[in-house]
Amino acid sequence: MTKVKINGQIVEVSAEPDTPLLWVLRSELKLIGTKYGCGMALCGSCTVHLDGAAARSCITPLSAIGEREVTTIEGLHGKEADALREAWTDIDVVQCGYCQPGQLMSASALLQKTMDPTDADVDAAMSGNICRCGTYPRIRAAIHAAARAMGPRLNPPLPLK
């Protein structure tokens, strides 16, 4: 049994230590909001937070988590998350939505570090998350809108007709 802190709670999981966190979440804990896309840290669908930093759960074995707190899309909350979800709704980012838990995890990690991200910041933080439906222009606009909603900002958002 391994003890892990997930979404504010300590849970005991029976998975073997080499099990990637993704499968611990999905099949043992039934936290199915975190998605599988590639298994090789190439797509970002499985993104969670480890102590607030974005991490790819598909390549993170259970044994590597240690004391760090895991946050999944189900447990994502707070000022940044609220602002992002509101912007995601206003701008209607989602298409199939499969990549979106990962996109929101990456975007909220970005906003926690960088209050007022530039387009280059968005590129750096978000380019590891593939969206096959092509929601990138709206994700970019929504991140800027969320940042603006949380306080004064320097970079004007891109126009989106």
């Binding site: 990637p20 199915i32 896309g37 298409q95 199939c96 939505g97 499969y98 092509g134």
Partner: protein
């Protein structure tokens, strides 16, 4: 433009078939309001017709027969019904429909008939009428594809809403002993000027007891509350909480997981395997080989066999598979190479002139007498769908019945495929369709469904979720076929295009020439050529091939719109002016072209890119799925000779725009999907094995490569047309055309790569 050869054939066959069924054929098409079996209802709920139920608590539950795979169709269809019903938008919920024939997708099949869009002769009308009637009768012709859903359901779902509203009004009139025409519906209530008012929930039971009103007049467009408005998506709220449920999220009690490894050679199977090591690992339930499963009735390329592990978790299953040693029977495709296939297609064009799909005038004589001619050869590679959610299917087979959780575009085919593998009647199969994590055509195929059923048969009644790894998904797709196309154009002394001759070669998906869909987007361009011959030579290989978002338009737009651009430059004309001259008789396309030129400031100089690199514009115009799109791409080249697309202007005429917000989403998504293919997409095979395995070597566009996209939807009051695939085809030629203007290099094969 007439297509005489094809027209004669269809007239003949339609006439012969018509004679046999003459009585039937003059009956009106089957109604789509009331299903064969009444809708199942929950306590406190009644069905007012086959499309909508109302509950005592005032919930309006709309039946969804189409798959939500990102295109926003659930929101769009709900708008149609809710608007005519005068429901409040927040009382609407959605539910998967049954597989009744009223939900059959007529438009998808009828619009796939090989006619010129502009033709309106009696043969075309008869063939469309007969096909529509036929599709109404076929059990299970339910499907989401061909960008057809709104086109197909625009009237049926509005009529269902209007009928239900009339029933609720009749119930109120009956209750209040007042004339129905004095009552009206608004936001989920029926109101009378006297101040009387009742909710739909209060009236539903009484409404259901009255006769179902038919032929109720539909709203005038001026009265629409939802239709035509940029309504936000209904599925957004769940999906941003991680609560969207996809195929891989099926969680029946006692769920087991399966992982498979298929023969790396397409169409191969297992010769022998040794699972001793795997079987002793923890969490492993069963290891066994399975036969190849067919993807459908008429698909090119066989299914592939492999070994499956059933285990307690996906990880246990995947880990165990690595410990299985398999000896493969590589089968007939073991020498297959995509490079050779493409070389073979080019060779074919040396000797074969192809099946003629469109002929007008005398192109060979016109070419001989032309003052100038140009010729070019174009190529496109195989492409994978790479949906974000890999193929998966969950099946429980217990007591002679099956329950299937499948993110599929074709639920009735799925039901039938499972029934066939398990040897049970289709009525013993229940299909649950969750959200699809992308479809793009891949989820119309049954290969992984058959596998999942075969795996469930080994699980002693437990539900098993089969999920392919990304590697299996990428190497065992049903790929967009590769094509080679040769083009010749002739011009007179004034630089006017007089002759247009194209012949392509490649798979037509196993269809007879007469029904060949691989020519769509080439033989039905809107341009008027004085002399033309447009032909296709079907060449099949052993590569599994399938429909890929925008199907044949994905390559034919690249060929046609690149070569039109070459034609313009070869006679020193502006590409917009040159196209406009060929569209004098086609005002719909001309309007889109002109608006795109205006929106993109076509005739103004273009400022450099942010890093100072020179930029150029390229344009493409294409008609598909009933819609017309023009795109202008602004492109530069970086120091590594990499092509970058900074902005794309997209102008669209899609008939009446049901939801401008969803339409813009689809244009953005379509452009990015098309751009991924144009700049990076290529599947290659060596020794029958697909070389690309994951997103590092088949790489979709990423955030840092994504252009800014500006979409303009032209107003129209015509019947709504296709959206989901329409944004894809034009972007590759628009970018290639910009690259030519920028560098002088005419790139004639995809993905676009500049010579270094």
């Amino acid at each position: 433009m007439a297509n005489l050869k094809r027209r004669h054939f269809i007239q003949y066959t339609a006439g012969a078939a018509g004679a046999l069924v003459v009585g039937w054929s003059f009956l009106p098409p089957r109604q789509r309001l009331i299903p064969g079996d009444p809708l199942p209802v929950a306590p406190g709920q009644v069905a007012l017709n086959g499309w909508v139920k109302v509950s005592r608590d005032n919930t309006v539950t709309i039946q969804m027969c189409q798959a939500e795979m990102g295109q926003g169709i659930h929101t769009g269809l709900a708008m149609l019904l809710a608007d005519e019903l005068d429901a409040a938008w927040d009382q609407v919920t959605l539910e998967q429909s049954t597989l009744d024939k009223i939900y059959n997708n007529q438009a998808e099949i009828v619009d796939a008939l090989p006619f010129q869009p502009d033709e309106n002769g009696s043969a075309k009308r008869l063939a469309r009428w007969m096909t529509a009637k036929l599709i109404r009768e076929v059990p299970g012709a339910i499907g989401t594809g061909g960008s057809s859903s709104v086109n197909d359901l625009w009237l049926p779902m509005r009529e269902a809403g209007a009928s239900a509203r009339a029933a609720l009004i009749a119930a109120a009139a009956d209750l209040w002993k007042l004339p129905a025409h004095e009552c009206r519906a608004e936001s989920g209530r029926v109101l009378h000027p006297s101040g009387k008012s009742a909710s739909f929930g209060d009236l539903a039971q009484r409404a259901a007891e009255l006769a179902i009103p038919k032929n109720v007049p539909l709203k005038d467009a001026s009265a629409f509350q939802l239709i035509g408005k940029p309504v936000r998506r209904l599925d957004n709220a769940a999906k941003i909480k991680g609560a969207g449920i996809y195929g891989i999220d099926a969680l029946p009690a006692g769920l087991l997981y399966a992982s498979v490894t298929m023969c790396p050679t397409v169409g191969g199977k297992v010769a022998r395997f040794d699972a001793t090591a795997a079987q002793s690992l923890s969490g492993v339930r069963k290891v066994f080989a399975f036969e190849p499963y067919a993807a459908g009735l008429i698909t090119v390329g066989a299914g592939t066999g492999g070994v499956a592990v059933i285990a307690d978790s996906p990880y246990h299953a995947m880990r165990a598979l690595k410990n299985v040693t398999v000896e493969w029977d590589h089968g007939a495709a073991s020498n297959l190479s995509s490079e050779q296939i493409l070389a073979g297609l080019a060779q074919t064009l040396d000797s074969k002139s192809g099946y003629v799909h469109y002929e007008h005038g005398d192109v060979d004589t016109a070419l001989k007498s032309a003052t100038k001619t140009i010729s070019a050869e174009y190529r496109v590679p195989y492409l994978a769908h790479a949906t974000m959610e890999p193929m998966n299917c969950t099946v429980q087979f217990k007591d002679g019945a099956a329950t299937v959780w499948a993110a599929t575009q074709t639920p009735a085919f799925t039901r039938d495929a499972v029934a066939k593998v398990l040897g049970i009647h289709a009525s013993k199969v229940t299909i649950i369709v969750p959200s699809l994590g992308g479809g793009f055509g891949r989820r119309t195929f049954m290969d992984y469904i058959g596998q999942a059923a075969a795996i469930a048969r080994e699980a002693d009644g437990a539900p098993v979720q089969l999920m392919w790894t990304r590697e299996q998904d990428m190497t065992h797709d049903y790929y967009r076929p590769a094509f080679v196309s040769r083009h010749t154009a002739g011009f007179d002394a004034q630089g006017k295009l007089t002759a247009w001759k194209t012949t392509s070669a490649g798979s037509n998906m196993g269809m007879p020439d007469i029904l060949d869909g691989s020519i769509k987007g080439a033989f039905d361009t809107g341009y008027e050529f004085p002399h033309a011959r447009i032909a296709h030579q079907s060449v099949e290989a052993l590569v599994p091939i399938g429909i890929w978002r925008s199907v044949s338009h994905s390559h034919n737009a690249f060929f046609t719109e690149s070569f039109i651009d070459e034609s313009a430059f070869s006679v020193g004309q502006d590409p917009v002016q040159f196209r406009a001259a060929l569209l004098a008789g086609n005002p719909r396309l001309l309007r889109v072209l002109q608006r795109a030129a205006e929106l993109s400031n076509w005739s103004e100089p273009l400022a450099p890119a942010p890093d100072g690199a020179k930029q150029a514009r390229g344009l493409a115009l294409h008609r598909c799925f009933g819609s017309v799109v023009a795109q202008v791409a602004e492109v530069s080249v970086d120091l590594d000779r990499k092509i970058r697309v900074h902005r794309v202007f997209c102008v669209l005429d899609c008939g009446f725009p049901l939801n401008p917000n969803l339409i813009r989403q689809q244009m953005e998504g379509g452009i990015i999907f098309g751009l991924s293919a144009a700049l990076k997409g290529e599947i290659t095979l060596e020794k029958g094995q697909v070389q690309q395995t994951n997103f590092h070597n088949y790489a979709p566009l990423r955030m840092n490569e994504c252009p800014l996209i500006v979409t303009d939807i032209l107003p129209s009051t015509e019947h709504p047309q296709g959206i989901g695939e329409t944004g894809v085809p034009s972007i590759a030629p628009a970018v290639a055309n910009a690259v030519f203007t920028l560098t002088g290099q005419r790139l004639r094969s995809l993905p676009l790569k500049l010579a270094v």
